[in-house]
């Protein structure tokens, strides 16, 4: 078997998958347990006070948001803490680069793996949401490939941050200054209607709010907006990050 150009990233993905399979318990607990706690505690606890949001039970409204935010968080953690460990502590990437793999193979393999983990967590949340009656219709299954795309996007940006970092401390800046504001202002927990209009315009720049604009109507059977616009925004964010990550890591590891 010879690896052709298109799938040379596959062994990178496969390596991470095998490690994940070995450490399955802890990995599932971290990536799925926490978002489920949020979904159930906030969905019913807060939901009892909130009642209906946009014509939906709060837990139904929240479930579609949690699918997206969990995809974002899972891929970001994977692309930063785990990827940095492989790059600096374990020197896994160097061992790949002395074999016939290149930086682009490593970056694409890592981003695809981060996206895969986002998909796994989305599947788990989807199943629980379905059991809670918070999912409507077969079309809602489309949220799973969208969660994968969201994971690809945030995994790739996490790799950009990793390429710029010289310790784990840097990641906290990215979480606090970028991801947390995005999480709070993309419509995961509440609709942005009540906020000043400027917040809504700003949120249009967030890939996460575009993901939610797709996932929420798909999961709840609502009216879909401009699908291609939303997909394109998330896809362009992903592509740009992949290119930047390859450039930065080339400079960091290949000079």
């Amino acid at each position: 078997m010879r690896l052709t150009d298109g799938v040379r990233w596959l062994p990178v993905w496969w390596r991470n998958f095998r490690v994940w399979r070995k450490l399955l318990g802890a990995a599932l607990l971290g990536n799925i347990g926490e978002p489920l706690l949020y979904l159930i505690a906030l969905g019913y606890g807060l939901g009892a006070f909130v009642g209906q949001v946009d014509g939906l039970d709060y837990v139904t409204f929240l479930a579609s948001g949690i699918v997206c935010s969990s995809a974002m968080n899972t891929a970001s953690f994977e692309g930063m803490y785990s990827a940095y460990t492989r790059m600096e502590v374990q020197q896994t990437w160097i061992s790949m680069l002395t074999a016939p793999l290149g930086i682009a193979d490593v970056v694409v393999g890592e981003a695809m793996w981060a996206a895969t983990k986002s998909l796994i967590s989305a599947v788990a949340i989807y199943i629980v949401a379905a059991a809670l009656g918070a999912v409507s219709g077969w079309a809602s299954l489309w949220v799973l490939p969208i969660a994968f795309l969201v994971g690809l996007c945030f995994g790739a940006w996490a790799l950009v941050i990793t390429a710029l970092s010289h310790s784990y401390d840097t990641f906290l800046y990215y979480f606090t200054l970028i991801l947390t504001p995005m999480l709070l202002l993309s419509g995961v927990f509440f609709p942005l209607d009540a906020m000043p209009p400027a917040v809504g315009y700003g949120a249009a720049l967030f890939p996460l709010s575009h993901a939610i604009a797709l996932v929420r109507p798909l999961m709840t059977g609502g009216e879909l907006g401009p699908v291609w616009l939303h997909l394109t925004v998330v896809g362009v964010y992903a592509a740009v990050a992949l290119v930047i990550a390859v450039r930065l890591l080339n400079r960091r590891l290949m000079t």
């Binding site: 690896l3 062994p11 095998r18 490690v19 374990q90 020197q91 061992s95 002395t98 016939p100």
Partner: protein, 304 residues
């Protein structure tokens, strides 16, 4: 002539410092070449450029007749690398490390199984096949790194300090395996700080410093060309008195390092006779070795 590596006028500058400054080097098929030099001499950078991991500022690199870095990927499919620091996968067992590394070459797990058995035997790790990498001793990890570098049956193996930090037994075993590889026709390039390692293993030795190759020859020739055949190390309270009074040292080249004088000389007899007559002095006579060549060419100053 079958050249595995051909490097001409190779240069690399980082900022103000010329790390590699006009290196010419060729390695023939089946030979074991040693690259010696103090820390910061440019050995690792030279190896990185050879592997296509660093782009040279100037010069030509050809490995297995492929231009590097342009065709580095095709070249790396045919060579093996043992890095300075072990970068085995700590989450995997011995056998999983080998399988995983083979996958980077596009070798499927099924077709590698019989090869893996050979590699485990070669690395004396057959009993450890399911042991987690973290539980292995330093010598076992090194052997696994070596076995891993052989998954693709390489024509050339590049080893960056293969025995640094190992105990003598573990080192002997690595040497034995490297000799076996050379015996089977594999070309080896290794860097080392251990002179006896280079003397025992290498057909030719290149001594590098300040980004240049200072000398390149078989170890015995280097010793014959660069230093006198005998070394007498002299120390003791009477050292200064002896050095001032001695007549026998006129023929010798003397290097003073702290409390010890190193006398390099072709005919050792007169000095030894003189030293035997004194009771305030002790000495040790030995044949000159590669370390003497190394210290003569690169100096005795400490490099940090």
């Amino acid at each position: 002539m079958d050249l595995v590596v051909n490097i001409e006028r190779l240069c690399k500058t980082y900022g103000e410092s010329r790390v590699v400054d006009g290196v010419d080097l060729s390695v023939q098929r089946g030979e074991c070449l040693g690259l010696l030099g103090p820390n910061g001499a440019g050995k690792t950078t030279t190896l990185r450029m050879l592997l296509g991991l660093t782009a040279p500022d100037a010069g030509v690199v050809q490995v297995l007749e492929l231009p590097i870095p342009a065709q580095a990927r095709a070249m790396r499919a045919r060579i093996g690398v043992v890095p300075q620091m072990d970068n085995l996968d700590p989450d995997f067992s011995v056998i999983e490390n080998l399988r995983g590394y083979a996958s980077y070459f596009g070798i499927s797990p099924r077709s590698i199984e019989s090869r893996i058995e050979e590699l485990l035997a070669f690395a004396a790790l057959t009993n450890k096949r399911h042991a987690r990498t973290e539980t292995l001793s330093g010598g076992m990890k090194r052997r696994l790194s070596l076995a891993r570098a052989l998954v693709n049956d390489p024509e050339l193996v590049v080893l960056d300090e293969p025995t640094t930090g190992l105990d003598p037994q573990a080192r002997q075993l690595i040497w034995q395996r490297l000799r076996r590889l050379v015996g089977e026709g594999t070309t080896l390039i290794l860097t080392t700080h251990y002179m006896e390692e280079a003397e025992r293993l290498c057909n030719r030795v290149a001594i590098m410093d300040h980004g240049r190759i200072l000398a390149l020859a078989p170890p015995r020739e280097l010793i014959a060309q660069c230093v006198e055949q005998n070394v007498i190390e002299v120390y003791g309270p009477g050292l200064d008195a002896w050095l001032t009074a001695s007549e026998s040292t006129d023929e010798a080249r003397i290097e003073r390092l702290g409390e010890t004088a190193f006398c390099y000389v072709a005919n050792e007899r007169p000095i030894i006779e003189e030293l035997c007559a004194r009771h305030d002095i002790e000495f040790r006579h030995r044949r000159a070795n590669l370390e003497d060549v190394f210290l003569k060419l690169t100096g005795r100053d400490l490099r940090d």
